[in-house]
Amino acid sequence: MNLVNHRLSSPFLKPVYSVPGIMAAVLLALIPAAICYTWFFGIGFLINLLITSVFGLLFEALVMRARGRPVFFYLGDLSILVTAALLSFALPPGSPWWIAASGIFIACIFGKHVFGGLGHNVFNPAALAYVSLLILFPLQMTGWYLPGSGNYAEAPIDPLSMNGIFTSLQLSFPWLRDMALTPFAVTPDGFATATPLIEYKFAAPARLLMAESDGFTVWQRDARTGWEMLAMSFALGGLLLLWRGIISWHIPVSVVGMVFLLSTVFYQPGQEAIFGSPWLHLFSTSTLIGAFFIATDPASAPSSAMGKVIYGALIGAAMYSIRIWGSYLDSVALAILAVNMCSPLIEQVTARTPLGHPSRLQRSLSVWRKTK
């Protein structure tokens, strides 16, 4: 019996969850979406993922070193990889590599460590990095330079053909072309439209709206189907997390519910160009990744059930409002950041009372009686 190397007081039961386990579960839940993204939009996503992960681990290690903490213990929590993956989903595939690198720098330093590291962050790091990039590099962030721009390119290139792959590589690492390292000298037609996180304004790409009536064709790789499939795969991943008990139902349900409610109330047939149909709001935009993966970030969300519902509903309302009445391109990340700021207040107001204590109502009633 070794008396030293053990816990000294109860509970002595083995713990059930672990932070790396939770983060790994989130990463696993993102796999369907990753496959989907690559299938429809080429390997630009995978390149971004690689860049953000490598730089993310590097920055995290440096910061931990600077903060004088055990580096590998903290790298082992895998949280930076989750941030990297979420950020990669938000970046346009085919943006130059330094966009991804500076994005993860912002997420790691300004999103997380200035507040004290994992668990202390006020904003979701991925959303913060994304919005910062949007402000810093608006041109690169809104361009959709892709081989498979689907319906709109004159001669669409299959994103997973050799041609498509080399195009993606060249887009991410522009110096490859100068060094003539790729066999093709592809000049992509720069068709600027939205990435999944930046929703288009409904009035602009009218052709896209028409595509809605074309029905749902899975294997036809156009951007519209791509987005819908991507949204579906985020929902699938989110359901996996719900099933494993990693996230609770409150936030996703209230976000999706609020968006659905508002879009149903304001929608009139024939007015797609102004308000968009509920289907469009839920599945052709990044609502679902926001609802399942970004808004549920535990550190920046309130902790009581009631608080979560309020928080989710606020995010849903903010998303819809920014999308319809706002003049900014993105809605999901902005809405989440905005409501992140309210989170401490929501948390305070909705903190639950321990059993046996007078409830909030009873307390205020007694104060009121005393003052009378």
Binding site: P11, F12, L13, P15
Partner: protein
């Protein structure tokens, strides 16, 4: 990975099961939900394979020594009434109860009192509010050691009289019998039973058979084998406290125990007492910690005592089935509390079992006779893995409150190092809040406790926390949450004031102390100076020269004798002042401690 289900067992699932078991169609009980709770792997089957092993028997003989600590209950130490060298008979009173919260202690077997010593580290110490929990883990306390002679001799007439017809006795007499038998709560806290039983205005009696902690099966085995005694004990308790209804709460997954208790109740049904007693069995959801006192009461009656009050204050009395059986023994057979059913289990045991162990049996004796694999044993826990204590020594005795001895192998016990090990930061995942049975917000409490913001801790319900450990089990950052709460509780309890007051007071006291120390120093310096002068006079020097070399001071006119006298007076005055100051500073220190 063991998955902890964080969901509730809705009452609607239990109702059909309940009706099937009871066979009474009209019998439906509305259960109230327990917020939170976890369902860890139970491991109960291990120790339920055989019958309860009695002691002394062929399997487990009498130990050579019995070690009986004087405090096995929450309350002041009992006072020995035997001396070293005395021969004591089985069931003889060896230590008397002191004060209102006292409990008597009896000899479990005959033999010679070989020593009354301080040498034993306590295990499963009843919580002592004056000491921090770490101290109480290693605290040594006084114990009576009996060298047994193997005769197990009982002097006739020593034992309390057997009360054959307890139905006709007055509650006061029965209460006295319970007190004389040295009963305290056998569930874990060790609260003196007689005090609890004497509480006025009890309307509901709950017998706690919901043994929810993993591994422990002592109560379950007891219900399976001695259901009739448990029921009769419950009826006696009901007579003493005068409760209108009596409910036996058993976890729904203990099928055999439920059947046995049902059977016993049916036998009692014929008698008039059982008719009046309103006795019923209620199945409670098998969630940890549904067996906690307040939790069980909430599940069964829906009553939630306001924070800071005990259940008896709102008219509900809760006793474990083990206590009920001990009450039965004390009243119906006159036998004091000298043995209890203890589960000896864990993956390091070759043959886990329930043992009716004599109080004071060294743990090593039990382990040796049941076959322990020393190479596998990592830790010995007294109590379950969630609320138990660590045994620091294998020779520590079985106490009245020890319901389980868990010889844990690697499989049972968390190898995470002690509270000094680095744990990750809280990620505010909220898992802890979803399992807390008291609806606290453990993460909020953790931040308050960690930074010792005492007021915030109290406001967030620190003292409502039952230290069930559910939050620490699900915490993905592996924060030893309960350790933080215990630490904070002991810090706050250490002073009767709130934390802030204590802080300012400590500053003030330190200031005062510094002042007195300087004053004492000053007086000392004066004394030194005077002494110096005396020395100078003795040496025949003229004082006036040393101090006032020019002006012929009036002091020079004084004779050496006069000066000496004056100095002596000054010395006396200064001494007195110094002594007075010193006393004062000692007083301050006393009150400061």
């Amino acid at each position: 990975m063991t998955r902890v289900r964080r969901s509730l067992w809705a009452a609607k699932y239990l109702k059909p099961m309940l009706q099937r078991i009871t066979g009474k169609p009209g019998w439906s009980v509305k259960l109230h939900a327990l917020p939170g709770g976890i369902t860890p792997a139970s491991h109960k089957f291990m120790s339920l394979r055989g019958k309860i092993i009695h002691m002394p028997s062929g399997k487990i003989p009498l130990p050579a020594q019995l070690i009986l600590p004087l405090r096995q209950h929450s309350g002041p130490d009992s006072v020995p009434v035997v001396c070293v060298g005395d021969y004591v008979y089985k069931h003889q009173l060896i230590a008397e109860a002191v004060g209102a919260q006292g409990v008597c202690l009896h000899a479990p077997s005959s033999g010679v009192v070989s020593s009354i010593t301080f040498s034993l580290p306590a295990i499963n110490p009843p919580r002592n509010p004056e000491r921090s929990w770490q101290q109480s883990l290693t605290e040594r306390q006084l114990a009576i050691v009996i060298d047994t002679d193997g005769k197990d001799a009982q002097l006739p007439g020593l034992a309390a009289p057997i009360i054959t017809r307890w139905q006709q006795q007055s509650p006061t007499d029965l209460l006295q019998a319970v007190f004389n038998a040295g009963l305290c709560g056998l569930g874990g806290a060790g609260f003196p039973t007689a005090i609890k039983l004497g509480s006025p205005a009890i309307h509901t009696l709950i017998i706690n058979g919901a043994e929810c902690e993993p591994y422990i099966t002592a109560d379950e085995a007891l219900m399976q084998e001695h259901a009739a005694e448990v029921i009769e004990g419950a009826l006696i308790i009901q007579r003493i406290c005068g409760a209108r209804t009596c409910v036996i709460g058993i976890e729904a997954d203990k099928q055999e125990a439920i059947a046995a208790v049902q059977q016993a109740i049916r036998q009692f049904d014929s008698s008039a007492v059982a008719q009046q007693s309103n006795l019923s069995v209620v199945l409670v959801p098998p969630i940890y910690p549904s067996g906690g006192e307040k939790q069980l009461i909430r599940i069964i009656t829906g009553i939630q005592p306001p924070s800071g009050q005990r259940p008896v204050d709102v008219g509900v009395l809760c006793h474990s089935v083990a206590t009920a059986r001990a009450v039965y023994k004390a009243v119906a057979t006159g036998e004091p509390l000298v043995s209890r059913v203890t589960t000896v289990t864990g993956h390091a045991m070759n043959a886990p079992a329930n043992v009716e162990a004599l109080i004071g049996t060294p743990v090593s004796h039990l382990l040796a006779h049941l076959g322990v694999d020393d190479t596998k044993m990592e830790r010995l826990l007294v109590g379950g893995p969630l609320m138990g204590y660590l045994a620091s020594d294998l020779d520590t005795p079985v106490l009245k409150t020890s319901n389980c001895l868990l010889a844990g192998s690697d499989q049972d016990i968390n190898r995470v190092a002690s509270d000094k090990a680095p744990h990750r930061d809280c990620i505010r995942c909220d898992f802890c809040a979803s399992v807390c049975p008291v609806t606290l917000q453990p993460q909020t409490l953790y931040f308050a406790a960690r930074h010792q913001r005492h007021e915030a801790s109290i406001e967030n319900g620190l003292f409502d926390c039952i230290e069930c450990g559910a939050c620490a089990v699900v915490c993905p950052s592996h924060i030893p949450l309960v350790d933080y709460y215990r630490e904070e509780k002991s810090i706050i309890r250490a002073d009767n004031h709130s934390g802030q007051q204590k802080y300012w007071q400590s500053l003030f006291e330190k200031h005062q102390q510094r002042l007195t120390i300087t004053a004492v120093d000053q007086q000392q310096r004066k004394l030194d100076k005077l002494q110096h002068k005396l020395d100078a006079i003795a040496a025949g020097e003229s004082l006036s020269k040393a101090h006032q070399p020019e002006a012929p001071a009036p002091i020079a006119a004084k004779s050496a004798e006069q000066i000496k006298q004056e100095i002596a007076a000054a010395v006396a005055r200064t001494r007195a002042r110094k002594v007075e100051l010193q006393n004062k500073s000692e007083d301050n220190q006393d009150s400061g401690q």
